[in-house]
């Protein structure tokens, strides 16, 4: 044993241990010159819906930059962006990470409803205000009584009411077939559509679930063709919808109207479906004109990615938090109470935002759109 203690290398070990301890104890922290208030942001920054998340993140960053530049705040506001990769477990981990940082006063989060459904409990537990600019599942706000949770876009039910008004009541299509993807989004779409359609006196001839990533719709379309519906409802997302529309054309089903909700609202639909997209009707998110302040500011800020459909909502969500910071200061509980106040109102890029007792926006801008010459254009009679 003595031979070991004689060995120099043992000294290296002890030395490294001591150095490690010393280094740990000396906190080499440079004092922040200015107090920092953080606003959390969680969206899919990687994964299949990354484009939407990045667009929202850029818009949120824009809002924060503008706030810091305005000089209205005595502290610096920082946006802390976390990735949920469209995965609930990752989302919960990210939410925990943000909530456990005491500088974070509120969080903007989640494009994907499953992730939102998973994290609301976390935000509630920590008492952090969570504003959702883009998830769509009604239960996110209606399925719980957490006052921390609010959403500023229309939920799925509102979207379907809005769309069915046109296609069933005004245009008079009564015989429908539904194709939906079996994700929670598609499933929920199909249920809401079915309910609303049947209330308005329409008939659903067939319902077909497909898994996300399906690329061959011909077997289902062959079957639907035999049923001769007047219109096909698609509850799902862009890619599958565009493929479905394309294959409808191949099977000679151009006379059947194709209708969907905000899941289809992306130019990718027109790109993939090509000329066959013509005449597709959707309930779209709000379309901002090129001359609106937000679009101009976004362009001027020089982000390389487009702001996507959720950008303006994310921008407004940050706007609401900034408003709260101005009114009640950087305190988690005060911000929650401020937003949950029944008299709360906010005028932003998407227009007026008012929340009901569930924290669900009752306004949330929607537009009807139709595909003309490879572009979504607002519906006109």
């Amino acid at each position: 044993m003595k031979s070991i203690f004689k060995n120099k290398i043992y000294l290296v070990l002890v030395f490294s241990l001591i150095l490690a301890f010393v280094l740990c104890q000396t906190n080499l922290v440079w004092a922040d010159a200015k107090k920092v208030v953080k606003i959390g942001f969680i969206d899919p920054l990687t994964g299949p819906t990354a484009a939407i998340g990045i667009g929202a993140k850029n818009s949120a960053e824009l809002a924060v930059q503008q706030a810091n530049a305005s000089g209205e705040f005595t502290y610096e506001i920082q946006l802390v962006a976390e990735d949920d990769a469209s995965d609930p477990a990752t989302g919960v981990a990210a939410a925990l990470k943000l909530c456990s940082d005491s500088d974070v006063v509120a969080v903007i989060s989640h494009f994907n409803s499953p992730v939102a459904l998973a994290t609301v409990h976390t935000f509630h537990r920590f008492g952090v205000a969570q504003i959702m600019p883009s998830s769509i599942h009604p239960d996110v706000t209606r399925g719980n009584d957490y006052k921390e949770v609010s959403r500023i876009c229309a939920d799925n039910i509102a979207e379907h009411n809005f769309g069915v008004d046109l296609v069933v009541d005004k245009l008079g299509y009564k015989k429908w077939s539904s194709i939906y993807d079996t994700s929670s989004y598609g499933d929920n779409c199909n249920n809401n559509f079915k309910k609303i359609l049947e209330e308005r006196g329409g008939v659903l001839l067939s319902e077909d679930g497909i898994s996300v990533g399906t690329k061959d719709f011909r077997p289902i379309l062959n079957k639907i063709k035999e049923l001769k519906p007047e219109a096909i409802y698609f509850g799902g997302l862009t890619t599958e919808a565009a493929l479905c529309k394309r294959q409808m054309h191949e099977l000679g089903m151009d006379d059947i109207v194709f209708f969907g909700v905000t899941g289809l609202d992306s130019e990718t639909f027109n790109e993939i479906a090509g000329p066959t997209a013509e005449g597709t009707i959707i309930v779209g998110k709000l379309a901002l004109g090129e001359d609106s302040d937000f679009v101009k500011a976004y362009k001027a800020a020089g982000f390389s990615e487009p702001y996507e459909a959720t950008g303006p909502y994310a921008y407004d969500a940050i706007g609401i938090i900034l408003e709260a910071l101005k009114k009640v200061g950087p305190d988690r509980k005060a911000i929650v109470d401020y937003i949950a106040d029944p008299d709360f109102e906010y005028h932003g890029v998407i227009g007026l935002t008012k929340l009901d007792e569930d924290g669900q926006s009752v306004t949330g801008g929607l537009t009807l759109k139709v595909s003309r010459n490879g572009k979504w254009v607002p519906w006109s009679e």
């Binding site: 044993m1 070990l13 740990c24 995965d87 609930p88 459904l117 998973a118 719980n144 929670s184």
Partner: protein, 402 residues
């Protein structure tokens, strides 16, 4: 009795013992300390230096086998002390992280991955069954306890029991369907089962579809709910501490169980099957029984971890139980070392912590796992901690004489 010889012998032994203890304390504190610092690492900062130093020290030490041997010797001689001291250090963790529940969350995930990987190790490491459906075992446990808790208000403790039973049955089912298929065919069937499981939970109504099951209740002991913050000696620990201790206890128990299984006849049978099925058959080993046991017992570990996971996250959805997760688990076992329990533990901790901590890895997580598998297979096919040669003292040999 007063023989001076004996006395000096005694005092020599005492000194030696104290030396061992000191070495154990020093090495474990270093490892623990590195682990803690790595966990609390934020991006790349000066603390990274802390890892470089001991790693250099480690490589320098490689040239002085005497020290390595001495460290090894002290750990094997005072095995129980080394284990108890490590447990004490682990118990201490929530106090260090009481202001940062996120780090505690990572520790809990380490524990859960560890339990699951131990189960996979029984199949992949001990028995040589390349099981690509292990995420499904984990998922069966999670869904069983979550569904029972949400629909029938089962308590967590009953739920975990049910999860164990159901996942064992599931393991038996897959095991019995794959008895005939070996090698590639076994791999293919398990892949198919993994996909089938994912598609089923993703599409069936009662599992909540792809929306999953949310608001799974927290475990309770009597009136005490796991969602309330834990108060020990007047120190308030975040609610994660409850789960941490639960997971710690179960992980330790699993490690103990895995160790016992490894040393038992069953473990030997599994190894015989892995080495050569036909030779094993010729020696009178029931290959089918051995495989079924490996399937069921492995699944039990997975199901147990799954049940805890479901209650801890309070939300599960099919996306957590994909083929990717199976490959991550395989990666853990391969990196750590096939059929080596210590290795699996190290692999689980490393592969949980590294992707969480380093941003680039988080984005390219699966790429990272893929590269790790290939790199380990090429450069260190035995894993970080190679499989040990079994030791037996048939003829009352001293433990370390073989």
């Amino acid at each position: 009795m007063d023989n001076p010889d004996t006395r000096s012998n005694y005092s020599q032994r005492l000194y030696k013992k104290i030396g061992y203890f000191l070495i154990i304390i020093v090495t474990e504190v270093i490892i623990f300390y590195m682990f803690i610092n790595f966990l609390s690492l934020k991006g790349i900062d000066y603390k990274l230096f802390l890892f470089v130093l001991p790693i250099i020290a480690f490589f320098v030490l490689q040239r002085y086998q005497k020290i390595i041997n001495f460290v090894k010797e002290s750990h094997s001689q005072c095995n129980s002390f080394s284990i108890i001291f490590m447990i004490l250090l682990l118990i201490f963790i929530p106090f260090l992280f009481k202001d940062n529940p996120y780090l505690l969350h990572i520790c809990i995930m380490c524990g859960l991955y560890l339990i699951t990987a131990l189960g996979l190790n029984i199949q992949l490491g001990s028995t040589g069954m390349v099981n690509f459906a292990f995420a499904a075992f984990f998922g069966v446990g999670a869904y069983t306890s979550a569904l029972l808790a949400v629909n029938f208000h089962f308590s967590f403790w009953l739920g975990i029991l049910a999860a164990i039973i159901i996942s064992a049955l599931f393991g038996l089912l897959i095991g019995s369907l794959t008895l005939k298929s070996t090698g590639f065919y076994y791999a293919l069937v398990t892949m198919a089962f993994q996909i089938i499981f994912h598609l089923l939970v993703n599409n069936l109504r009662f599992t909540g579809g792809s929306g999953g099951i949310s608001n799974i209740p927290f475990p309770t002991i009597g009136k005490y709910s796991f969602s309330s913050s834990l108060n020990i000696f007047g120190i308030n620990l975040p609610y994660q501490a409850n789960y941490y201790y639960l997971v710690l206890a179960i992980a330790l128990f699993s490690l103990y169980l895995a160790k016992r299984l490894y040393n038992s006849r069953t473990g030997l049978v599994w190894n015989a099957i892995r080495e050569d099925e036909i030779a094993a058959k010729c020696q009178g080993i029931s290959v089918n029984k051995g495989k079924l046991e490996a399937s069921a017992i492995g699944a039990i570990f997975g199901g147990m971890a799954g049940a805890i996971y479901a209650h801890y996250i309070s939300f599960i959805s099919p996306e957590s139980f994909t083929f990717h997760f199976s490959v991550v688990l395989i990666c853990i076992v391969i990196l750590g070392g096939l059929d080596n329990i210590l290795g699996v533990a190290i692999g689980a901790v490393l592969l949980t912590v590294i992707p969480e901590k380093i941003r680039f890895f988080a984005e390219a997580r699966m790429l990272f796992y893929g590269i790790i598998i290939i790199a380990v297979l090429i450069f260190k096919p035995q894993g970080l901690v190679p499989e040990r040669i079994r030791k037996y003292n048939f003829l009352n040999f001293k433990k370390d004489s073989i």
